[in-house]
Symmetry: C2
Subunit: 191 residues, 2 copies
DNA sequence: GCTATAGCGGAACCAAGTTCCGCATATGCA
DNA sequence: TGCATATGCGGAACTTGGTTCCGCTATAGC
């Protein structure tokens, strides 16, 4: 229940907003150096707040991750339709978009792991990333499928899930996520 | 330093051996219901031993996992050459073998995740699984490559790494690891 | 049987996530 | 401007799970 008896809600306190942005900055910084599983106490200390303040603003780690990466996810989502109109073929657009998505993932240490975690706390992360990006992917798949360039019936959710998985551990020297993703893209083509 | 002054080592105590097999059975059971990250205390309780006993026999979780699954890994490794002689083509052998590997992984909740963990504790797991299976995979890849069925230059380690990744979360209802692996196998073919 | 010691159990310690509550302070109003 | 009150804060305390360590027990070898 927010607000006074009269029903008109008191506006959010200034310090609360300050803390929220401080937390976002601190989290972004912590994620860069320690990955998205950076200890809560770390982030709180960086932001100069108590741990309780993190939980008040971002009840689950997923909420914090979503908030930190929202801009980049939006950019990726918006790139889909653009690529579709600008690319030579739908398959080329699909390939470009997937590479964009992969680039996003591999530069966020631990994000790919988190994305696929079945831990309930990551439900909102899962939901946001996929709800925002799966339709875009589906549109690209559909276009390429209609053009007869790829095998039909591929589910966008499954594909993104798989692409995400392939990006796990992408910073290991004896692995090459992009190569594997490339194999998948090649495997999509009709032969 | 083990043994008496005279240099002849005292043989392993009977209770020690008993505990080791009890632990293996308990761990196998725990892995089935809770995945390979089942709490140490759980496994110890199941086996009717103290936690210290686990660490004495299996210093890291990876050691325990390796011990539990050794038979199945060996079977998979040995299947490679057999498939190569019995299959119609090297590519068919490769595909069959990969499916075998995938079947092994997807039925072990959490094993695929553990396989790719960069945590130092999982080093021996990584080492054992890959050292045992990568050469087999390399042989199959080589045969298929020589036969001109697949694109050349694919590194077995990278491929297995990727296949392992694709198997993460295979028990989720909205994912299909086998489909994704199938795409990779298709992507390997020359066109 | 006796002795030396390998091996055992589990308490204690550590790391991280999460909850909760007394306290501080910003807001809205007089 | 000063006051009342709800909002929001900090961080201690609790939980869970891994890891270490040490006094004690039971076995192997004689």
């Amino acid at each position: 229940m927010t607000g006074t008896e009269s029903g008109v809600p008191r506006k959010q306190r200034a310090d609360s907003r300050r803390n929220e942005t401080a937390l976002l900055e601190a989290a972004a910084a912590a994620f860069v150096v320690s990955g998205v599983n950076a200890p809560v106490r770390n982030i709180a200390a960086r932001a100069g707040v108590g741990v309780g303040t993190i939980y008040r603003h971002f009840p689950t780690r997923a909420d914090l991750i979503v908030a930190v990466y929202r801009h980049q996810v939006e950019a990726c989502a918006e790139a889909g339709p653009v690529l579709l109109t600008e690319s030579a073929t739908p398959h080329a657009a699909l390939a470009s978009w997937i590479h964009l998505f992969v680039d996003f993932l591999v530069t966020k240490h631990g994000l790919a792991e988190a994305m696929r975690s079945d831990d309930a706390a990551f439900q909102t992360l899962h939901a946001y990333f996929l709800d925002r990006l799966v339709p875009v992917c589906a549109e690209l798949l559909d276009a390429a499928s209609t053009a007869g360039e790829i095998i039909p019936g591929i589910d966008a959710l499954v594909l993104m899930h798989g692409i995400g998985n392939l990006c796990i551990g992408a910073d290991s020297p004896d692995y090459d996520a992009r190569l594997m993703v490339g194999l998948v893209i090649a495997g999509l083509r009709v032969r």
